[in-house]
Structures are given as C-alpha cells and as structure tokens.
C-alpha cells in the first residue's frame, strides 16, 4: 500500500502542508491566533507555557515547540515571541534547527514595535510561505514513511473489548509494512506494565518500560498525590471501568502484538521505520497527542468509549469507538464504529484492515471528522508549577 504525501527537505514525508505560526510563549499566543486567522493554510495553537518555568519543565515546552515545527505535516514555521520570555527566540530557533532544515521566519513582538506591526510582519511571512507551500506537488510513498500515534480517551469497557484491539491490529499492519506505531499514556500502563515489559525487544527496553511507570508514580508521590485520585475519571466509571488496572489492561491493546523496540521521553523525536515504540506521556489526551505529534507522528488514531471531539492543529485525528450507543449519539465526531467486534458481525482483523485503509485515505488528504469540524485543541505536559 502507498499514499501521496509531501517530501520535506529533511527527508521526512508529510500528509498535510501547513504553515505553523508558533507562539514561543503564552504572551505570543493571542498574536499567533490573529495571524493564523488572517492567512488560509496557516495554523497555530494556544501555548500556555514558555515562561516562568524551571529547566525540566521548560524542556517539555521546548520539545513540543521544536517537534511541531519539525513535524512533516508542516511546510515552514513563523516563530512569534514576545521578547522577554524564558523560551527566547534564539533558543526556540536552535531547537527547531536541531530537528529540521525547513524554512523558519522570526517575529519578536517587543522588537517589531507592538502588536499591529508584529501581526503585519508575521502575516506577510505567512502569506509568502503559504504561497510557496501551495506549489508543492504530492508524490507517492510507501506506508513505511508513516508514524502513527495511538491514543485512548473517555474510555469505557468497549475500548478494551473492541476499539483498542482494532487499533492494535492497525498497529500490527503498519509495523508489518515497515512503519512506526507509538503506544502512549504511561499512567494507563499501571497495572499492565508487566505484560508490556514482557514484549520488550531488549532487556534495556524492558527496564525502561517499568522505569517510566515507576517514575510517574514517584513524581505524583512527591506532591503527596496518587494517580488513582484522578484516574479512572467519572466518565470512565459511569461507563463501567472500575479501577485503573482495568483501564490499563484495555489501554495497552492499542499496541497490538509487535515487540516494543524503544521507549522515548515526552515529545522527543522518533526515528522513522522503528516498528512499535512507547512514548512516556500523561493519560491526558491533548497533551499526550501533542507529544506524539512533536515526536513526528503524521496521523493519530484515537479510541473513545464515551465520545470526544479532540483534534490537533497539524495532524489529522481519526476517532473510533467500540460503543454502539456512543457511535449512534456522536456520529458527527466519530469516524469508525468498532462495535461489530463485540456483537460478532465483524472480526478485529476485518475492522483493523478497514481502519488501515482509512489511515491511507486520510494520509492522501481525506479529512477526518475532527478536521472538518475544526478541532485543534492541545496541551503541553508540565513537571511542576510555574515559578
């Protein structure tokens, strides 16, 4: 199977062709919103961070910013900073250049002379870059160029019974074709980490899987908290999930059956053609998806028992549910109904094949429901409070 995508100068292949207006901090986020609204083909997001952060916390923000700019769905980036924030323009630009050689433009609001002049400058840069991007012709590529992010949110017991096993089948198909699949959400490995660790390709990866789970639990313990105080959520419980362990045992089905070849920290750049890998992300959906997108995922598949509209600014998010009632209620938001697996009218293998076909179509340009409805929310994980 092949798809038509955009070749980038760094060798990677995108399935969308956006110009990213990147806010270096919260203080530039309204400005980037105004710029992106003015230029068709430009996208942005609300960066709540970028300043008043300690080093490891700021690093998460930097990795998401650099990873978004480097994501192959982005043609070029206009970085907009206020000027005085901790995530200084030169730091952001250097972080982007460490990951990619794609075009970058810079606008510093305090140097440009205020909002109106900064917006003027950034809109002109964006307009020029969008025009360049529109000249690019798509080329044919093998599915092995794809990095797939997998996510589950608003889970219920049907996620573990149907939607996640179907995503697991998709993951196995992509891995068999030489591509890359990311299993995320460390908090939702808790209680199932032994099963996942047994699938590690090397003893080192085995220890890393257990290591990220223990690190997460310890980080919460440092502030006197326990992951079970917020997980499962009220919606998970209303749906029938009783404990975190039960949720986790359903969650890890998204990883299919392939060996786990590597473990990546939050938002770090993933090497293509790596098979199945794990990324250390929170169970919180928009910040977990953001990390995989920063890692280079061009497409995300997202299971939801309760139903969610979640999208992403630069990556198409395909929604799937195993709950027939949720699909009937939220068909406007959900791309694929996996409930036939539960009722015996289709197998996991059949639906996994259909989902793989859908991923190929979306890679070629078909809009997901989240894209059509314009959902772009995202969040960036935090280590600790602002300083």
């Amino acid at each position: 199977m092949t798809f038509y995508g955009y070749k980038r100068p760094d060798g990677r292949v995108g399935i969308r062709n956006y110009v990213l207006i990147l806010p270096a901090s919260v203080c530039a986020s309204d400005t980037t919103r105004i710029v992106a609204q003015q230029v068709n083909g430009a996208v942005t997001f609300n960066n709540q961070n970028g300043c008043s952060q300690v080093a490891p916390d700021q690093q998460l923000t930097m990795d998401v910013m650099a990873g978004y700019a480097a994501n192959p769905n982005v043609y070029a980036t206009v970085v907009v900073s206020l000027g005085c924030e901790n995530c200084q323009m030169d730091l952001v630009v250097d972080a982007i250049k460490a990951r990619t050689n794609k075009p970058i433009r810079q606008v510093i609001i305090q140097e440009a002379g205020g909002t109106i002049k900064a917006v003027d400058m950034a809109v002109r840069y964006a307009k020029e870059l969008v025009a360049e991007a529109s000249m690019l012709q798509k080329q044919e590529f093998p599915m092995s160029e794809l990095i797939l992010g997998t996510e589950c949110g608003g889970s219920d017991p049907t996620s573990g019974l149907a939607a996640n096993p179907v995503i697991g089948q998709l993951s196995d198909l992509l891995v068999a074709d030489g591509g890359t699949s990311i299993l995320s959400e460390t908090t939702e490995f808790i209680g199932a980490e032994h099963i996942l660790a047994k699938r590690a390709a090397t003893p080192e990866v085995h220890d890393q899987i257990l290591g990220i789970v223990h690190r997460y639990e310890k980080a919460l313990a440092l502030v006197g908290e326990e992951v079970r105080n917020g997980n499962p959520s009220p919606g998970n419980k209303a749906g029938g999930i009783t404990t975190l362990e039960e949720k986790s045992l359903g969650c890890i089905h998204k990883g299919g059956h392939a060996p786990v070849n590597a473990v990546y920290d939050y938002a770090k750049q993933i090497t293509a053609k790596s098979g199945l890998v794990v990324m250390d992300t929170p169970g919180n959906d928009p910040s977990s998806v953001a990390a995989m997108v920063a890692g280079g995922a061009q497409v995300v598949v997202f299971s939801s028992g309760r139903g969610t509209p979640t999208g992403n600014p630069i990556v198409p998010v395909i929604k799937i549910t195993g709950n027939k009632l949720t699909f009937a209620k939220m068909e406007d938001n959900i791309d694929l109904d996996a409930s036939p697996v539960i009722y015996g009218t289709k197998t996991v293998e059949e639906l996994g094949g259909e989902l793989y076909q859908m991923v190929q179509e979306v890679a070629c340009g078909k809009q997901t429901k989240a894209e059509t409805l314009g959902f772009t929310e995202m969040a960036i994980a935090r280590v600790c409070n602002y300083v």
Partner: protein, 94 residues
Amino acid sequence: MRNAMIIDGSDNVVIAIEPIAKGSDVEYVVDGKAARFTALEDITIYHKAARRDIPAGSPVVKYGQHIGVAACDIKAGEHVHVHNVTSHRENLDN
C-alpha cells in the same frame, strides 16, 4: 440470547453487552460453550457481573489479570463495580 461476554476463561466477571434486568439470565460463551447465571441486580450495558462468588479480599479477574480486590463478599450475579471492588497496586516487576 447472548447478552454478555467473557474475555479470558480464567475471568470471574463477564461484561454485559446489552442492558440486563434483575432476575433475567446472563448468557455468554466461554471456551466455545454456552454458559449462564441469573442477574441478581440490573446490570448496565458494558458493566461487569460476577459469574462466580468472589469472597472479600480475593482478586477480581478480567483479561485474565487482576483488576482489583473484592471489598466485600460478591455473589455470582451481582453487579461488580466501584461499590464492591478496590484498586490494589501489585508488584508486577517480575
């Protein structure tokens, strides 16, 4: 009519795949054979019911794994959820 499913033969709970009323049969297939028990309570669709008695303190098993511990004696046919199961962190490193 099949109205429940089991994931692993060692599980002591099944999942309702239709709403199940108190007093009606819970029907599922395990290892290729039909099995049933009576629902002692209403079971909401996609929630769990005990297919065997689960004594207080013993594991609740789904996916062939422990998902928690019975907080009280649970009778076969009862709804199994947050009111009668507690989460239990096991050492799973080996």
